[in-house]
Symmetry: C2
Subunit: 388 residues, 2 copies
């Protein structure tokens, strides 16, 4: 029997202690009560209320985006961003094979098809060089649009994802997007607070999206946002996420098929309070990274994933990387650690193998397929990184 | 000049008093704060938590439905119900011309087309007799399906709406649905607490939907639910509204394109507290109806809308009905009342005239077109009906 699973449980115990630990728990240590109580007391819990505006302003200020539009969750944010960047029925959208299923679902909501692309080991994000080679051989231009040689469909957009909060190579991907005339939407659902060359993830293209699900670094219960570099586009996003109603003293005129995607005020209130604590959460998470690193650096068969150079990661999820791809060993480690009360998880099952996306086009996915068998997320709550 | 606008302002003053009044405000006088605080203290604000289950059980118990599935809003509930009843891309769905735009939007999300139908004056809901005549002349059966003679498309479903909380003629509509092989989804977004022949609206067909938007009788900030008479279908709805993930200790297997439509626990907590007060809210709203009735009964040119016989309405929105259709007069009344601080509103602009739905098929809409010029909603918050 391989001794590694037991060694890992021992390592986790050194960092976490004897108590059990979930993969990720939110922490409410700020003004959550005060703001939420204010909503209830004032009876502004729903679409009208000050916290939605405030949360949007706070997000824009924190990330350096021009504007932010708060929505009901990250999936809704992706759906609207894809619509706004011009994804049409029948298009293809480049999506990493290794991401949460929401990215591919949102493409489906536009009646478009995800086209799966490979990742790089150093950032876990899309590999710009491999993608460029692939697109060079497998697409052609027609009327300025990038066309898939096999399906003859327009490849309209690319949605890079900053996996586990670690910034991907957004510079390289912007270059590919530019050269192949692709719209780029940055999926920063997991990377609030993470920067690439000093700039906040989600702000490199015209739109980026955030998530505030209960498992994220900060939470609004359920929630998300779209970041914009163009206030006019942001205004339009606000319009179509709030049923596309034209302002009028009493008439109900809606000028297009809109969505009911607005974030309720009570959830935004939670978000305002959480955002005030974000920097503290990230300090703790970076501290937790160091502890895991120190404990696991002497185990030869594993590494703790370290932020790519030039980047500052929020370390949303801490990640153990097995030296060799090995499904049996990975699952054994998951069993041992979970049996010991530590909420460890593998990376998502690769999307191109899931029933709803089995038939979708894809490039060779060698790195994603290897990393799927090598990655294990460790308990990552900010409170685990508190100074002892 | 017609004296009616001033008479109506005077009538509103008699009922409401000198202070201004919004169209509808929520009221938080129960355990909202205790339940929400409990969420924050326990850190269960998101998808995991006891209040979602409790709210679903409470809703089922209150309405007499077999099961309820809580979702992020009424629009999402409609979208999922349409999907589950088998609405396919290219289908038509019968929708009243006089309803909130969400009903038609949800049909669009399924890549189907709303087909607008007329209402009856007595309930403001779809007129079953007129609809039956229309379908007899304008459709034929093919392979057991109801086909639109003009468009040749399948008319798959009908979505009657209980307008302003007043139960429509659901018995008659179930007959039509049965005879023309239409799926029926009851849009009870506005009628929580309203009954038809003693049974709760939303429970007459296999699915009905509710809304808990901030303007509704009870609110969760934003929220909705689907009511089911079939627990298996409810289980499936829960599955696809929560990303269609197959339960597993750690794997992320999703077996279809799912949605992120779950209601966060913190919003469900609000819902549990609000539902405990629903009967009290309805008593007050029915009391408010009586006050409006008493004040306006002597003004010859108007009526206060009264629940159809055999029904018990929650009187979500109180409604003034002008004797004669008159757009100028309606707008003048809206100006006078709003200028006086009373949040009065017309009914929704009819959907078949809005840009996104202009080209959609429709039956003659004589009653809807008349009623659009006759209906004015009056301030309707429960607190206005408190005993003085």
């Amino acid at each position: 029997m391989n001794n590694l699973p037991l060694e890992i449980v021992k390592g986790l115990k050194l960092v976490i202690g004897d108590k059990s630990a979930a993969l990720h728990e939110p922490f409410f240590g700020g003004k959550e009560w005060i703001y939420v109580k204010n909503c209830i007391d004032s009876s502004f819990v729903s679409s009208v209320g000050e916290y939605v505006d405030r949360f949007e302003n706070d997000l824009a200020e924190y990330t350096g985006a021009k504007s932010a539009v708060a929505v009901v969750n990250g999936t809704a944010a992706l759906h609207i961003a894809l619509k706004l960047c011009g994804v049409l029925s029948g298009d293809e959208v480049l999506v990493p094979a290794m991401t949460f299923i929401a990215t591919a679902n949102a493409v489906s909501y536009c009646n478009a098809t995800p086209h799966f692309v490979d990742i790089e080991e150093r950032s876990l994000g899309i590999d710009p060089d491999a993608l460029r080679d692939y697109l060079n051989y497998n697409t052609y231009f027609h009327s300025g649009l990038c066309i898939n040689k096999v399906t003859k469909k327009v490849i309209r957009a690319i949605v890079p994802m900053h996996v586990f909060g670690h910034p991907g190579n957004i510079d390289g991907l912007l270059g590919v997007a530019n050269d192949f005339n692709l719209q780029l939407i940055e999926d920063a659902a997991e990377s609030l607070g993470s920067t690439f060359n000093g700039l906040h993830t989600g702000t490199f293209a015209s739109m980026g999206i955030l998530s505030f699900n209960g498992n994220k670094t900060i939470t609004t219960g359920g929630g998300g946002a779209i970041l914009f570099n163009d206030s006019k586009l942001a205004k339009h996003a606000k319009h179509i996420t709030t049923t596309a109603k034209i302002p009028h003293r009493w008439e109900f005129i809606h000028n297009q098929v809109g969505y009911n995607y607005r974030l309720p005020n009570i959830n935004a209130a939670l978000g305002c309070a959480q955002l005030e604590q974000l920097d503290g959460f990230i300090d703790k998470k970076r501290n937790l990274y160091k502890r895991y690193y120190d404990v696991f650096k002497d185990i030869v068969d594993v590494n703790i994933f370290t932020e790519p150079s030039g980047c500052r990661s929020n370390y949303w999820l801490q990640t153990l990387v097995l030296q060799k791809a090995n499904l049996d060993l990975r699952n054994e480690i998951l069993s041992y650690t979970n049996d010991a009360g530590y909420g460890c998880r593998p990376v998502w099952n690769l999307l191109h193998r899931l029933d709803p996306f089995k038939g979708c086009p894809r490039m060779p996915l060698a790195i994603a397929e290897t990393m799927e068998l090598r990655l294990i997320n460790l308990p990552s709550s900010a409170k685990l990184g508190e100074e002892k």
